[in-house]
């Protein structure tokens, strides 16, 4: 299983991530460069929206808190899938 220290580091990264992904980004008016290019060129991003968590936001939550929760969801899913994979490989052997 994941080491406690590794988990702590990951959670810490997620906790401070809104500072960079939301606060600083708003301060300098950041948008994903390729998204800006798309907007300028009139390219449309997919009209189909398949996820409620688009761009690391959680509906109804302020963007900073949403960013953290989205981060935790992502980390949780990856650890879940990852360990499933580990289990499958281990059982195969």
């Amino acid at each position: 299983m994941i080491g406690r220290r590794a988990l702590l580091v990951i959670i810490l990264l997620v906790l401070i991530s809104p500072l960079f992904g939301v606060v600083l980004a708003d301060m300098v008016g950041y948008h994903e460069p390729l998204d800006v290019a798309a907007e300028k060129l009139g390219l449309k991003e997919a009209s189909i929206e398949w996820t409620p968590f688009s761009d690391y936001s959680i509906p109804g939550l302020p963007s900073t808190i949403g960013y953290i929760i989205a981060g935790l969801i992502g980390v949780g899913i990856l650890l879940g899938i990852g360990y499933l994979l580990v289990k499958v490989v281990a059982e195969k052997k």
């Binding site: 992904g21 449309k44 997919a46 992502g74």
Partner: protein, 219 residues
């Protein structure tokens, strides 16, 4: 570097998807590793995902964030490293719409194949040329991270440049993506070197380089 939907034309989408699926199949058949090593995939995937959320905005509307492909390649090799980045990109795309679904093939190709392979290759080259010591590991990981992300950026420029859906051609997209990633990639190199340097003495069992090199010479 995550290409959104709408940038790529059907031909580019088809080619990049085919390339990434081919690599995925090869990776799945080639993965022969110890349980200890595969146990690192989830941790590294979660760590890279979290690290990618730390955007460093740069006034003027751009930003950089750590990609981590070279790091995964150095730590886990070209196949497990690929699998790690693939998981990250897949979840980013499906759950957070970060990177388009039509561009998933291209994004996987750039960050999970090119960045991983280049990082792995350069690290291996440097550590086998200079000898396996701390200095060569630092240099190898730095160059791997730096050149890996630069080439991934150039590949991204090629894909959107060749795609008729995107109005600028490769003569513009490749230099723009290449130069930006060449400059910002220094940071990727530094982080890659620091993480490898930190993990090396702590997680000897995953240090593929030493392991696979010595295994290779025994065979």
């Amino acid at each position: 570097m995550h290409i959104p939907d709408g940038f790529l034309d059907p031909v580019t989408i088809a080619i990049t998807y085919m390339a990434f699926i081919a690599y995925l199949v090869v990776a799945l058949t080639r993965i022969k590793v110890s349980r200890e090593k595969i146990a690192l995939v989830p941790v590294l995937a979660a760590g890279i995902f979290a690290a990618q959320m730390l955007n460093w905005p740069i006034p003027g509307g751009t930003s950089l964030h750590f990609v981590g492909g070279a790091l995964a390649g150095i730590l886990l090799g070209p196949f497990l490293g690929f699998l790690t980045l693939f998981l990250v990109l897949f979840i980013q795309c499906l759950v957070f719409h970060d990177g388009g679904i039509t561009a998933l093939g291209a994004n996987v190709l750039n960050m999970a194949v090119i960045d991983v392979l280049v990082g792995y290759g350069i690290y291996k080259l440097v550590t086998s040329t200079l000898g396996d010591n701390r200095k060569s590991r630092l240099i190898g990981a730095f160059l791997g991270g730096w050149i890996g992300i630069t080439l991934a950026g150039i590949a991204c420029g090629l894909e959107i440049g060749f795609s008729p859906s995107f109005p600028y051609g490769v003569l513009i997209t490749v230099p723009v993506m290449g130069i930006w990633h060449l400059i910002l990639g220094v940071v990727e190199g530094v982080i890659t070197a620091l993480v490898v340097d930190y993990l090396y003495p702590r997680l000897p069992q995953l240090l593929l380089m030493q392991q696979s090199l010595s295994e290779g010479s025994q065979e």
